[in-house]
């Protein structure tokens, strides 16, 4: 091969590289632009909803809003949603109390102890349950609990939220446990730990941050639900003095007061909506924080 041959080949190679890099960059730019534009479009509703809720709700937030009972129809800017806030917290609490132990234990069984075809069917059932419209959870608890006890109640509302949270908890906990590498389980088994010790001392602690994230998201989801509460807790204008009486909640308060023609109640509904968004935001931040501690 002569020196000229070599040089012309090198030139060709250099030109080829130079030409190829300049070609498709406009194409890239165009599609990046299109994708970015649609991302912005998708964000618009989210931003509008948040901004609108803040604008309409923030001005009504005062001490009374957090400490007083809902106002009568023709009392502009009086009263508050204190009983609904308490109701929401209590019912979400009851829901968590019911669903967290069952959900977490079921997931531990699924991920660590079940064998053969059983886990497949349980996972399938869980997916079906999480796809059931939330209003059906309400109707289910209405038939099971409200009719048998003869009253709408905070307990019934809590159970409905619990049924709603259950599949979310089972799925996220199951996934969190599955992420823990099997080598780590082998290590524990290989050390002479029993299956139970392996799960309790190694797998669960390793999965705990991820499980906490799942639990927080389940709580956030339940706190915002209206439909399951309509048939179970109903609503109340009064303070909660028993778990077995109709109970107010923020979401049902928004539902009720947003549709009445009285301005005072409408403004309170906006404020309650803002607080509801705030609760969901707060739990989501908590979930992010737990996620940061994740090991695997």
């Amino acid at each position: 091969m002569t020196a000229t041959d070599y040089r012309s080949r090198a030139d060709r190679a250099r030109r080829a590289i130079a030409e190829q890099t300049s070609g498709p960059s406009y194409f890239d730019l165009f599609w990046t632009g299109v994708a970015g534009f649609f991302t912005l479009l998708a964000l618009i509703p989210l931003v509008l909803v948040l901004v609108y809720v803040v604008i309409r709700g923030f001005s009504r937030l005062n001490w009374a809003a957090f400490t007083q009972l809902p106002p009568p129809p023709l009392a502009p800017d009086q009263g508050g949603f204190a009983n609904a806030l308490i109701g929401t917290l209590i019912m979400v609490g009851i829901g968590a109390l019911v669903s967290v132990p069952f959900g977490v234990l079921a997931a531990i069984y699924l991920s660590e102890f079940s064998q053969g075809q059983v886990p497949r069917w349980i996972r399938f059932a869980t997916n079906v349950l999480s796809g059931v419209p939330s209003i059906l959870m309400g109707v289910f608890i209405y038939g099971l609990f409200v009719i048998t006890t003869g009253t709408y109640s905070a307990v019934a509302g809590g159970f409905a939220l619990g049924v709603l949270m259950l599949p979310i908890i089972v799925r996220t906990t199951d996934e969190s446990l599955q992420i823990v590498p099997k080598q780590v389980r082998w290590a524990a088994i290989g050390m002479g730990a029993s299956k139970f010790q392996t799960v309790l001392r190694v797998v669960l602690p390793a999965a705990l941050p991820a499980i906490a994230t799942g639990l927080t998201l389940a709580v956030a989801r339940a706190a915002g639900e209206t439909a399951p509460l309509l048939f179970t807790a109903l609503f109340s204008q009064y303070w909660l003095d028993s778990l077995f009486q109709p109970t107010a909640s923020l979401s049902v308060l928004v539902y009720n007061f947003a549709t009445v023609p009285y301005e005072g109640q409408q403004r309170l509904a906006w404020a309650a909506a803002l607080i509801l968004v705030g609760i969901v935001l707060l739990t989501s931040i908590l979930a992010r924080w737990a996620t940061r501690k994740q090991i695997y």
């Binding site: 082998w186 290590a187 088994i189 290989g190 050390m191 730990a193 190694v202 390793a206």
Partner: protein, 272 residues
Amino acid sequence: MEHTAQHTDVPALKNTETAIATEQLNVYYGDFLALRGVNMAIPERKVTALIGPSGCGKSTLIRCFNRLNDLIDSFHLDGRVTYYGQDLYQDVDAVQVRRRIGMVFQQPNPFPKSIYDNIAFGARATGLKTDLDALVERSLKRSALWEEVKDKLKTNGLSLSGGQQQRLCIARAISTQPDVVLMDEPCSSLDPISTLKIESLIRELAEEYTIIIVTHNMQQAARMADYTAFFNAEATEDGKRSGYLVEFAPTQKIFDQPAQEATRNYVNGQFG
């Protein structure tokens, strides 16, 4: 050595007792025969290396020694695996077996806990009443990691480098004072310097423990093993590979004057 080892027989054992032995061992996953007809007598307080191409069943074999294969649903075996004469698969609790026979894995797999808790895990899990501080220090010194971590015992084991993690796993394996330490390609994910450290550590450990090490790396076997077993694999009719023991002898004999043609070809790098 003048002892002429038959290719599936016991190598020349002088003044050493057999720690683990297999007799006509066949290992199955479901219907699939993964490893067939293994007869071995592994001497105590020596380093025994298991070498061979992928799919020859070396890892399958050492997982029979601490009954880790029990975790696989389709696993079963026939023949015998004995530990100082005691059949490991008859009237023996697998948990007790694993307390006597420790294991180090291919990927370093420390628990996501502090260095201290990693070592203390075995003692805590087995309810051993002992001075944990002393146990942690002794185990880490024994695995040549103490100087590097003595000031940060509370930090997470996962924050160590790969080589340090693997020495932590060795420290963890010997913390329960087993008789045998099984190692499944312990250096395959490590850099050459970490590998050398671990190899010299393994040589030292052989004074106290029976070491059985699976390795892909023939030089590693040549460098550190007293005895070497060569396994090979054959394709079965349905395209899977079934392993068997070709030759088990002192390492020098395997590398210098192997009795089998296949062994010679493998150690000369002609396949595998």
